[in-house]
């Protein structure tokens, strides 16, 4: 018998602290599988955010750095530029980290076409602090700090990160994926692999937005959370590639 599926090497044995059914674990595994397949664990440096995935540094076997809230792209810029030839650098950030407090760092790293890979988890909520409204919370979404539903007259609209960044000249690759089922997981992995390969090929800023769940703070079972994601998140955050400069140039 041959092993057709097992824990990737780039994932440590440390049990993950995530709640049951949280999709962070799936995305961690996909990133680790890609690191394995590209054979880059020894030269990869990951940057963990502040938020639920703050402990990502315990789960990846490569060197890891814990950044201040929202600053991961700036930290990644430093790490990458310290040895551009030999460092493969990725950040792993949630929506509050990347699209709220760290928006300037995100936009400017994209504008510079910084040669880094960003894995962006969009689950429309602040998980670690117990379920507050995120920059990507949907209109009407009930959270601890929007108890009557997100009122767009009062606190504005969610930010569509891929759409927004795609208006910039800078970034190389922007794609939105999800991990709601096996087929989507396969597509998500393809996108993540491309985002790392782009960096290795020197193509520049590659961001993969992963539409994800937060069963605990959404107040749902893991199964219902995936259903809610497909019915509510995906219409607002359509999956697909929002920018792929190299592919576009090839088709010209």
């Amino acid at each position: 018998m041959a092993v057709v599926f097992d824990k990737p090497h780039a994932l440590t044995d440390v049990p993950m602290h995530y709640c049951p059914g949280c999709t962070h674990g799936i995305v961690h595994r996909l990133v680790a599988e890609v690191i394995d397949e590209l054979g880059i664990e020894g030269k990869t440096i990951g940057i963990a955010p502040v938020g639920c995935s703050v402990f990502a540094y315990n789960y990846f076997g490569c060197d890891m750095i814990e950044a201040a809230h929202g600053r991961a792209p700036a930290v990644a810029t430093g790490v990458k530029r310290s040895d551009p030839e030999n460092h493969v650098v990725f950040t792993y950030q949630g929506d509050g980290d990347l699209a709220s407090i760290g928006m300037a760092e995100t936009v400017h790293a994209a504008a510079r076409n910084e040669n880094i890979t960003i894995i962006f988890i969009n689950n429309a909520i602040y998980g670690m602090t117990g379920g507050q409204m995120a920059p990507t919370s949907l209109p009407g979404q009930v959270t601890q700090t929007s108890p009557y539903g997100r009122d767009t007259d009062h606190c504005g609209f969610p930010i569509k990160v891929c759409e927004m960044l795609s208006e910039l000249e800078g970034p190389e690759y922007l794609e939105r994926v999800t991990v709601s089922n096996v087929k989507n997981i396969r597509n998500a992995k393809k996108a993540i692999k491309k985002a790392f390969q782009n960096q290795i090929d020197g193509k520049g800023f590659s961001l993969v937005e992963v539409v994800s769940t937060c069963p605990t703070n959404w107040g749902m079972t893991p199964q219902n959370a995936l259903k809610w994601l497909e019915e509510n998140m995906l219409p607002y955050y359509p999956l697909g590639c929002y920018k792929d400069r190299s592919a576009k140039e090839e088709t010209k």
Binding site: F5, L11, P15, G21, C22, I26, R29, V182, I185, P222
Partner: protein, 68 residues
């Protein structure tokens, strides 16, 4: 014919693997409780498993090893 190995102590009983199995072969063991206090996932009829690894792919905690 496939072989599934569950790291039962790491299972959080979320049940995503249960829904993922196209043949409905996985269930949460209602008669067992693991170290973490969850009913862990297990396979009911391994002989019927084709080793597609859908369960393993959905598992957020990477506890399922699939051999074929």
């Amino acid at each position: 014919m496939a072989k599934l190995t569950f790291k039962t102590d790491k299972c959080k009983g979320c049940g995503l693997c249960v829904d993922a199995c196209p043949k409905g072969l996985i269930k949460l063991a209602s008669d067992k409780i693991n170290q973490k206090g969850y009913h862990p996932a297990e396979i009911t009829d391994e002989s019927a498993c084709v080793g597609c690894a859908a369960c393993a792919m959905m598992c957020p905690d990477c506890i399922i090893k699939v051999e074929r």
